[in-house]
Amino acid sequence: MTARPPKRVSRIRSAIAAAALLAVAGMSIGAPAQDRPPQAADDVPSPPAKSGPPGPSYLDPLYATEVTSVLGRNVIGPNGEKLGLITDVVVDRDGRPRAAVIDFGGFLGVGSRKVAIDWNLLKFDIEKRDRTVVLALDRREIQAAPEYKADAESTEMVGPPLVGSSSGGDAGK
């Protein structure tokens, strides 16, 4: 009871940072012709000249058009149906996101289940106004998944559907 909460919080913090980093990486990979926006270098504020506690030695801008926070984002299916909310991000030992924990289904908070989903199945459309996250699976494909247990020795996440499975949808790219 005493040791757990700090550990969990630090995990989430690192997860958010990692998610943001990944989103940046994803964007630059997705748009290979474009490097960093050229104006970025000019916009970097010069270190404050005021006296007081020393600030960070270097600041890198995070543009709202390039990155997004993920906790609490709505997750929708390929056909636009609401699936749930991202409640947590699971990272590996290098800090790379492995899975998103999604609070799935339910009504007014009753009957929802936490399910871990392979991080690669989530699509972050940063440009979109409401910032919903699109999941490449529909409701049927995740509803029977085992409940995600944060404290268990091992738990399972939903991966991309196997090619030739009954759903027949496009498999993970």
Binding site: G72, D103, L108, G111, Q143
Partner: protein, 415 residues
């Protein structure tokens, strides 16, 4: 009314007619007040966790906020009851409790930061504990102890209607608008809830018989120990705790299962599982109130408690989403009987002791203990041994509660 000093009878009759009109509008006011209060409470339930998640809260912190709310509610049950005993104007208590709900809902809606959410939770926890007893005390004032069962049946009907409408409206609001909108809607509803309090407040104006009765009741108070060690009250409190231990986890566990197994529209099925019992409760509550007055409190409570084992067995034997929604409607009978018999038995025991609200707080505290441990316990059993065993264990708590009602709880209906 024209002033007619010469004939005392006419003036007296006018006075009495006025008194009756006031009583009728007070009855209606209490109906609507019950409806709105149930409406308001919907948003403060498990939905808080959903809302805070959308605000980027971590699960650990959400757990902390919810625990804080539970602890605040549990810790304030008896002190709040004792406080309400001291205040003779129960309509005033109800008014300030509603005002605290307004503040709490606004804290949630406007500033989802830890400080204000914790404050909102604590405020809601405390004011729930003053509002419940205030409603029961106003009911006792209006109906008198002889017809209280009928009045509580009516309360339960309107509360069930409020619960049903609240769940449907707030669920839709959360789905189509935003989860934040739910708390703005809650705050707006608290304003609407004040209106039906006006005719009730008139009852407590100085000089009214109601106010006088309340004043004289406050003059002598029995020792707390002698009220709380009453065998009927203790027996009822233990039974209610056992029942809630088995009951509170039933819906979440079944809902979880429906989400996992339903072919389509699991969300709608769960919504039906919440609203349907309220329709049942709205339909049968007045009859239960009458039954409690004609055939005794134990019978009604026993009938209500028996539905829990039936439900548990049905859930375990027919793990099928449609069946679960149907079986869940039995919860309407259980909820209504507990809601009616709680304040009724407490009134039988403590109405004239000057400790009615404290005794209600004690009962609420015991029920709170059951509710607090129910979901955790059921989750643990479900993880280890699977859902059917969990459902059967909850059913077992129901059997124990029903058996205890029959064997250990004395009948308190005045003859």
């Amino acid at each position: 009314m024209p002033a007619n000093d010469g004939t005392g009878i006419v003036a007296d009759r006018a006075q009495r007619g006025d008194e009756r009109a006031a009583a009728i509008s007070a009855e209606r006011g209490l109906d609507w007040f019950n409806l709105f209060v149930a409406n308001i409470q919907t948003g403060f339930g498990p939905f808080v966790a959903v809302y805070l998640t959308t605000q980027g809260w971590t699960q650990t912190r959400i757990g902390l906020a919810l625990s804080l709310g539970t602890i605040a509610a549990m810790a304030s049950q008896m002190p709040a009851g004792a406080l309400v005993d001291r205040i003779s104007n129960k309509a005033g208590v109800a008014f300030f409790s509603i005002l605290a709900f307004t503040a709490s809902a606004l804290c949630f809606a406007c500033w989802p930061t830890p400080l204000f959410i914790y404050l909102g939770e604590a405020l809601h926890g405390f004011s729930s504990c003053t509002l419940g007893p205030a409603i029961a005390a106003m009911s006792l004032m209006i109906a008198g102890s002889r017809a209280l069962g009928l009045r509580l049946g009516r309360n339960a009907r309107f509360a069930a209607i409020g619960n049903g409408i609240g769940a449907a409206a707030m669920g839709a609001c959360g789905y189509y608008l935003s989860s934040r909108a739910v708390f703005f809607m809650t705050a707006a509803l608290t304003v609407a809830a004040v209106l039906p309090l006006l005719p009730l407040a008139r009852l407590y104006e100085p000089g009214r018989p109601a106010a006088r009765r309340e004043k004289s009741a406050a003059r002598h108070r029995e020792p707390i120990a002698s009220v709380l060690t009453n065998r009927a009250l203790l027996g009822f409190a233990v039974c209610a705790m056992l029942f809630t231990l088995g009951n509170a986890a039933m819906l979440p566990l079944a809902g979880n299962f429906v989400t996992k197994r339903a072919e389509s529209e699991a969300t709608l099925l769960i919504a039906a599982g919440i609203v349907l019992p309220q329709l049942v409760a709205a339909a049968i509550s007045p009859a239960l109130g009458r039954l409690a007055e004609s055939h005794g409190r134990r019978l009604v409570l026993f009938l209500g408690f028996c539905t829990l084992p039936i439900r548990g067995v049905l859930f375990a034997a027919f793990p099928n989403p449609g069946m679960m929604v149907l079986a869940q409607s039995l919860d309407g009978l259980a909820g209504a009987s507990l809601g009616i018999i709680g304040p009724l038995v407490t009134s039988d025991v403590a109405a004239n002791s000057g400790r009615y609200n404290l005794a209600l707080g004690f009962v609420g505290f015991m029920i709170g203990i059951g509710a607090t441990f129910s979901t955790g316990l059921a989750g643990l059993i479900a993880d280890r041994f699977g859902n059917p065993v969990a459902f059967m264990s909850l059913a077992g708590a129901g059997v124990a509660a029903a058996a205890l009602v029959w064997t250990a709880m004395p009948e308190t209906r005045p003859r």
